[in-house]
C-alpha cells in the first residue's frame, strides 16, 4: 500500500491530512480480524476507511425501536460529501437465514463532513421479529482513501429524549427526529410544517417515498387554494334538482394518489353518469352525509354548480375526512346559515 501511495501525490496528500486530524490506517492484523467480522474496528479511535467493506457480526440484544448506530465521518474534501459511506444492516434468524427488510430499513448513506467540522450521525436499525444475529457492513463509496470514521458498529439502544425543538431538527440530519415531527404534523394536519420536514428529508436522502409524500401534500394545497377562490357553496334544505350526487362513484380518496388526480377521475365518472353539465342541468344536489367535501370538490371539478342539501335542516360539523386537510378548512367551503 505504501508503494502505491508514493505513486500518487494526491493519495499521499489525503493520507497526510487524515493523519494530521488523528485518523490512522487500520493495521493488517485488525483488517484481517475485521474480514472475519469479529472486531469493532472504529470503536476505539479514528480510523481511515479502507477500500474493501468492513463488517461486524453481533448478537441481537433487545428489541427496542430505538436501537441505532452513531458515527462521525470525515473527508479531506473541503465540502460535505454526500453518501460517502454506505452502511448495510442485515438481520438473520438463529439458523442464519437472512430476514428480508425494506431497503430503507437496511441501507443507510452517511455524509462525510470536512475535517474539523464533523457532526455525529445516527440512524435507527431496530431488529425485525425473529432476528438473532446482525451483520453491520461499512463500505466506502469514494474511490480514494479520503474518508475517516469514528464510532461503534455495534447498535445500542438510544435515548430518544428530550425531543429537540423543531427548528433544530430541521437543521439536523437525524431522520428519526424529522419523522417524529412529521408524525406530529400529520396528526395536526399541518401541511406547512410537513412541507418543511419533507423538503429537508428529500434534501438529505432524496428518497422516492418522501418525494411522493411532498407531492401529495403540495397537490392538496393547490386543490384547497383553487377551491377557496370560489364562492362559498350554498347550503339549503332539500331542493328539487334533477341530479343528486348521493355517494362517491369511485373508491374513496385515501392519499395513495394526488387529490387532483382522484378528483379528475371521479369527475369523469360523474359526467359519464349525469351527462356533461349545461345551462339547464348545471345544478347538482349533494346531500349531506359521508364524504360530503369530496363529493363537493368532485362536482365542482366536473363543472356542475353544486348545492348542498342539509339533513333535517342541519349541516354536519364534519363534512368528511380528507387526509392532511383540517376540518375547519372543509367547513369554510360552505356558506352555512
Amino acid at each position: 500500500m505504501a508503494a502505491k501511495i508514493e505513486e500518487s501525490p494526491r493519495k499521499a496528500r489525503h493520507l497526510e491530512e487524515l493523519r494530521s486530524a488523528g485518523y490512522v490506517p487500520i493495521s493488517r492484523a485488525v483488517l484481517l480480524l475485521a474480514r472475519m467480522r469479529v472486531v469493532d474496528v472504529f470503536r476505539f479511535g479514528k480510523r481511515i476507511l479502507p477500500r474493501r467493506p468492513v463488517c461486524l457480526l453481533s448478537l441481537v440484544v433487545g428489541k427496542s425501536r430505538s436501537i441505532g448506530i452513531d458515527f462521525t465521518v470525515a473527508t479531506t474534501r473541503p465540502e460535505v460529501e454526500r453518501a460517502a459511506v454506505q452502511i448495510t444492516v442485515r438481520h438473520f434468524t438463529l439458523f442464519g437465514s437472512e430476514i428480508a427488510q425494506p431497503q430503507e430499513d437496511r441501507e443507510f448513506a452517511l455524509f462525510a463532513d470536512p475535517l474539523g467540522q464533523v457532526q455525529a450521525q445516527c440512524f435507527l436499525c431496530p431488529p425485525p421479529t425473529g432476528a438473532r444475529w446482525r451483520v453491520v457492513e461499512l463500505a466506502r463509496q469514494a474511490d480514494e482513501r479520503r474518508i475517516g470514521v469514528l464510532g461503534s458498529m455495534r447498535p445500542k439502544t438510544r435515548e430518544l429524549s428530550p425531543v429537540p425543538p423543531l427548528n433544530e431538527a430541521l437543521k439536523g440530519r437525524q431522520r428519526y427526529w424529522l419523522e417524529y415531527y412529521l408524525g406530529e404534523a400529520e396528526k395536526a394536519r399541518d401541511r406547512q410544517t410537513a412541507t418543511q420536514l419533507l423538503s429537508r428529508m428529500i434534501f438529505l436522502e432524496r428518497r422516492a417515498t418522501d418525494m411522493r409524500s411532498l407531492r401529495l401534500i403540495s397537490d392538496i394545497n393547490q386543490v384547497i387554494l383553487d377551491f377557496s377562490k370560489q364562492e362559498k357553496v350554498a347550503v339549503s334544505a332539500k331542493m328539487q334538482n334533477e341530479l343528486t350526487y348521493q355517494k362517491l362513484l369511485t373508491t374513496a380518496f385515501d392519499n395513495s394518489l394526488p387529490l387532483s388526480k382522484w378528483l379528475l377521475s371521479e369527475a369523469i365518472t360523474l359526467k359519464n353518469i349525469f351527462g356533461a353539465p349545461h345551462a339547464e342541468m348545471a345544478k347538482v344536489s349533494i346531500p349531506a352525509g359521508e364524504n360530503l367535501a369530496l363529493r363537493l370538490l368532485a362536482a365542482y371539478q366536473a363543472g356542475y354548480a353544486p348545492v348542498v342539501e342539509t339533513i333535517q335542516g342541519q349541516m354536519p360539523d364534519k363534512p368528511g375526512d380528507i387526509p392532511w386537510v383540517k376540518n375547519e378548512e372543509l367547513l369554510s367551503f360552505f356558506d352555512r346559515p
Partner: protein, 389 residues
C-alpha cells in the same frame, strides 16, 4: 498532453497506432473505389463518446473521399505513411487544461499545445478547428483559454463556425481570422436518437399529467447551464406567466458542491423532477416528447445541441439571444431571451408554451430538422472543406 483516452472500442479501434490508422484509412478509401488522388485523412481530437456530434459531422465523409478517425493524443500526428494529405480537426480544445492545477500549469499546457500545432504546420498537416463555444462552459483558466483560442485561431488553416455571429462574438475575447472561417450550421439529431414513443405515452411514463405545462432542461448539469438560477427564480417566473410549470431537469450530474445547491433548490419543489444521470440515446425521446418546451437558460452560448435536439422533436426552445442566429431557419420555434435581463426568460418561456399550441411552429421545426439532418450537414461540411483544401 494527457487527455482523457477514449476507452470505448465499440466506437473506434483505440489500440491501433496513428500510422496504422492512416494506412487503414487509405485502404478503406481505396476499397470504396474512389479516386485515390482525392483521398484525404482527417484525424479528430479530442474524440468524445457520449456526444454524437463528431459521428454526425463525419457521416458523409466517404462520399467526399475523406476518412476520419479519432486521435487520442494529438502530439502523435505526423506525416502519414501513405500518399494522402492529413488534417487534424480540433473540437473542444479546453481539454488541454484537463490536468492543470494552476494557471502556471495552464500556461505551460498552452505553450505545449502551440508547439504541437507548429509541428503540424511544419509537417504540412492542415489544422481545422470547429468553434463550439466562445469559451469552454466551465473555464478554469479563462485567460489562458483565451490565449489558447487566439493562438489556435491564428494557426488554423480552416475554422468551422456554426453560428454566423461567431467571429463577432468571439471578438470580445479573441480574434478569429474571418477569411479562414466557413459556416456550416449545427446538424439536427434527425435519425440519431430513437423516436417512436408518442407524447401521450412519454407523459404517462414520466407521470406528467396531460394538462401540465411541462418544460425540459436537458444536458449535463453545471453552473454554465443556468439551472441553479432558473430554480431560484422559478416561483417568480411562474407568477410572471401565470402558469404552474412542471419542470424536468435531466442530465449527468455536475460537481458535488454544485449538485448540493441543486438538491437544496429542488427539495421543496415537488413539481420539479431531477433525473441526475446521463440519458441513454433511446430515452432522450421520452423527455423531449413529454415536454411542451425546452429551456436553455444559459448565461452564454454560441451553439446548442440541446436546441437542435428540441427542434428535432418539434419542441420550441428558449435560448440566449446570441444563439438565435445559429438556428434562425427554425423560425418561431427558437425563442431568444436576454441573459442579463432575467425577466425576459419568463416572456420567452410564455412564448415557447404558446408556440407549442401552434401546429405550424412544430411543422417548421420538423422541417428545420429534416433540412439539417446529419448527412446533409456533413455534406455541406466536406464540400466546404474540399473547396478550401
Amino acid at each position: 498532453m494527457a487527455d482523457r483516452p477514449s476507452p470505448d472500442t465499440a466506437i473506434a479501434d483505440i489500440d491501433r497506432s496513428f500510422e496504422e490508422a492512416c494506412v487503414d484509412a487509405k485502404l478503406s478509401l481505396f476499397a470504396r473505389g474512389g479516386d485515390l488522388e482525392e483521398a484525404h485523412l482527417l484525424a479528430y481530437h479530442p474524440p468524445v463518446q457520449r456526444n454524437p456530434y463528431q459521428q454526425m459531422l463525419y457521416a458523409s465523409a466517404y462520399e467526399h473521399s475523406f476518412a476520419c478517425f479519432p486521435l487520442i493524443d494529438h502530439t502523435e500526428a505526423a506525416p502519414p505513411p501513405v500518399n494522402a494529405p492529413l488534417g487534424v480537426h480540433y473540437h473542444w480544445v479546453h481539454r488541454v487544461f484537463a490536468n492543470c492545477r494552476s494557471s502556471r500549469d495552464a500556461k505551460k499546457a498552452v505553450f505545449r499545445f502551440f508547439d504541437t500545432l507548429d509541428k503540424h504546420r511544419q509537417a504540412d498537416i492542415k489544422i481545422i478547428w470547429t468553434v463550439h463555444n466562445l469559451l469552454s462552459h466551465s473555464a478554469m483558466f479563462p485567460e489562458e483559454e483565451i490565449e489558447l483560442r487566439a493562438g489556435l485561431g491564428s494557426r488554423a488553416d480552416y475554422i468551422h463556425i456554426m453560428n454566423p455571429s461567431t467571429v463577432e462574438l468571439c471578438g470580445r475575447y479573441y480574434d478569429l481570422p474571418s477569411a479562414r472561417t466557413f459556416m456550416v450550421p449545427h446538424p439536427s439529431y434527425f435519425g440519431v436518437y430513437g423516436d417512436y414513443i408518442s407524447p401521450e405515452q412519454a407523459r404517462f411514463d414520466l407521470g406528467v399529467a396531460p394538462e401540465d405545462k411541462t418544460v425540459l432542461l436537458f444536458g449535463s448539469l453545471g453552473p454554465h447551464k443556468g439551472t441553479r438560477q432558473f430554480l431560484e427564480e422559478l416561483s417568480e417566473l411562474e407568477a410572471n406567466i401565470n402558469t404552474r410549470l412542471r419542470v424536468i431537469i435531466a442530465g449527468a450530474p455536475g460537481s458535488a458542491s454544485y449538485m448540493e445547491d441543486i438538491y437544496r433548490l429542488v427539495a421543496d419543489k415537488p413539481r420539479v423532477t431531477l433525473i441526475e444521470h446521463h440519458i441513454d440515446d433511446q430515452a432522450v425521446q421520452r423527455l423531449f416528447r413529454a415536454s411542451d418546451a425546452v429551456l436553455c437558460p444559459y448565461d452564454v452560448g454560441l451553439n446548442s445541441g440541446v436546441a437542435a435536439t428540441a427542434a428535432t422533436f418539434g419542441r420550441p426552445c428558449v435560448v440566449p439571444d446570441i444563439l438565435v442566429p445559429a438556428m434562425s431557419a427554425a423560425n418561431a420555434g427558437i425563442i431568444g431571451f436576454n441573459p442579463s435581463d432575467r425577466g425576459s426568460l419568463a416572456t420567452a418561456t410564455a412564448r415557447a408554451l404558446e408556440a407549442r399550441e401552434n401546429p405550424s411552429v412544430e411543422a417548421a421545426l420538423y422541417q428545420w430538422a429534416e433540412h439539417h439532418r446529419p448527412v446533409a450537414i456533413s455534406r455541406l461540411f466536406f464540400e466546404a472543406l474540399r473547396e478550401r483544401w
